[in-house]
Amino acid sequence: MKIVFARLALLALVLAAWELLPRHGIVNPLLLPPLGDVLAMLGELLQRGQVREALGVSAAEVLLAFVVAVPLGAALGVLIAENDYLGEVFKPMLFIVFAIPKSIFLPMFILVFGTGFQQKVAYAAFTTTFVVLMSAAAAVESVKQDYLLVARSYGATRLQLVSRVYVPSMMPLLLETLRISMIFNFTGVLIAEMYASRTGIGHLIASWGENFQMKQLFAGVVLLAAAAIVFNEAVRFLESRVSAWRT
């Protein structure tokens, strides 16, 4: 309980500093507008049609990329984990490619897809697929051979091996994969929008930054941070329910 109070106190301290330091001119309010002003601006922005439309576009891009990348990455990951030959052939290459910052490929995506909706989805799905692939493969490999042997000795069918051993055993890692993939996905869309775009919340944030509209900029940051935190905590809650057995 004490820890919880200390954490809340820390949060209150940071927020208070954000409000008070610029308000009293200790920090330049042109660089860091007071929290109150930022929140007021956020409320105002959410009323604007242009901002709402940008949020809608970004959300659609994130969701579509998610829907493309997660099944694709999961299927490829299971494939290289289950098939020894494919695993041996593809894994070294994938590890190397995984290490490359994906944003350097962004110009190529612009050349191929232009600067519209498709490019954002394609780029975000591209970055996310790798993460999902790697963690799905790790999840399959995390299933202990002992468990499979036990289940087989009790006459489990192939389908039962999947539903009764593979899935429950992998569930905590799968949820974690989902969480991490959403973070990559979100990042992918934002970077693509900030880099070259005519719409989307990333584009707005980039242009507010370029024009020194600090209140708008921080309002955007608060909004996206809140969205990311809500998703993250929701999946973490699920994780803790599903993986009570993990020590």
Partner: protein
């Protein structure tokens, strides 16, 4: 069922196994396990004891020879004939103790309520009533192995195969578990094949000890344990016990 009348629950004839087409693992093994008997297999590491047990369970195919279990070959796992209890308990960590015991029943469908009752009865048999809702990580090593034994018994298979089930336990727990196993065995009259490294455990538990040679594994000695039942810890200090253990030790040393 002719073999059953002869009293052999397991009959192995001319069994050999070669790994990957080149490495001989088991060589010309033949023996019977009479119904209701407790047979222990000992032998040096890597002699193929576990492989042999996996073949008896229908989990692995042999290169040559035949295995008859209750009068029929066992080409695939058949949990109604053979229950297997593994090293390291191998409980599913995402299931509670009771759900782990129920697992074999749940694979076959049927009434949930009966499964629960049956699992509860097994939990009681192994002395763990009240621990059914615990997850494996909340149980001690000995308790986990008790759950594992209950899981092996839940479908009431006439044959029980045990692959070094107590190897991961400390010496004290190991002896207690051995004693417990004998108690459970005496109430269920199963045919047991038990693989172990421990000579003391072998003599303490067995009606008969089979000694295997180093790879390729062969049966090099069969030792009848004449100690009366029920066994007690005190017997370990007797001359008979010491001589039996010493004879097995001499055989294994020769074999290695």
């Amino acid at each position: 069922m002719a073999d059953l009348k002869n009293g052999a629950a397991i009959r192995i004839e001319g069994l050999s196994h070669v790994y990957g087409g080149t490495v001989p693992a088991l060589q010309d093994i033949s023996f019977d396990v009479p119904a209701g008997r407790f047979t222990v297999i000992v032998g040096p590491s890597g002699c193929g004891k576990t492989s042999l047990l996996m073949m008896l369970a229908g989990l692995r195919a042999q290169s040559q020879g035949t295995i008859h279990c209750l009068g029929r070959p066992i080409p695939a796992p058949d949990p109604l004939r053979v229950g297997v209890i593994f090293q390291e308990a191998s409980l599913f960590p995402w299931l509670t103790a009771l759900e782990n015991i129920e697992f074999p029943l749940s694979l076959r469908g049927g009434a949930q309520k009966e499964h629960r009752q049956r699992a509860q009865a097994m939990l009681e048999l192994v002395g763990l009533s009240g621990f059914g809702e615990r997850f494996p990580h909340e149980l001690s090593g000995g308790m986990k192995q008790r759950v594992s034994i209950a899981r092996g018994l839940v479908q009431d298979p006439p044959v029980l195969l045990m692959d070094e089930p107590f190897a991961a336990l400390d010496e004290q727990t190991r002896m207690t578990m051995g004693h417990e196993l004998l108690r459970i065995w005496s109430t269920t009259s199963k045919t047991v094949v038990f693989v172990t490294h421990s000579l003391t455990e072998a003599v303490y538990l067995a009606d008969e000890v089979l000694v295997m040679s180093a790879r390729p594994g062969r049966i090099i000695d069969r030792i009848e344990v004449t100690l009366p039942r029920p066994r007690s810890y005190g017997m370990m200090a007797t001359d008979v016990f010491g001589r039996l253990r010493d004879r097995i030790w001499q055989q294994i040393r020769k074999a290695d």
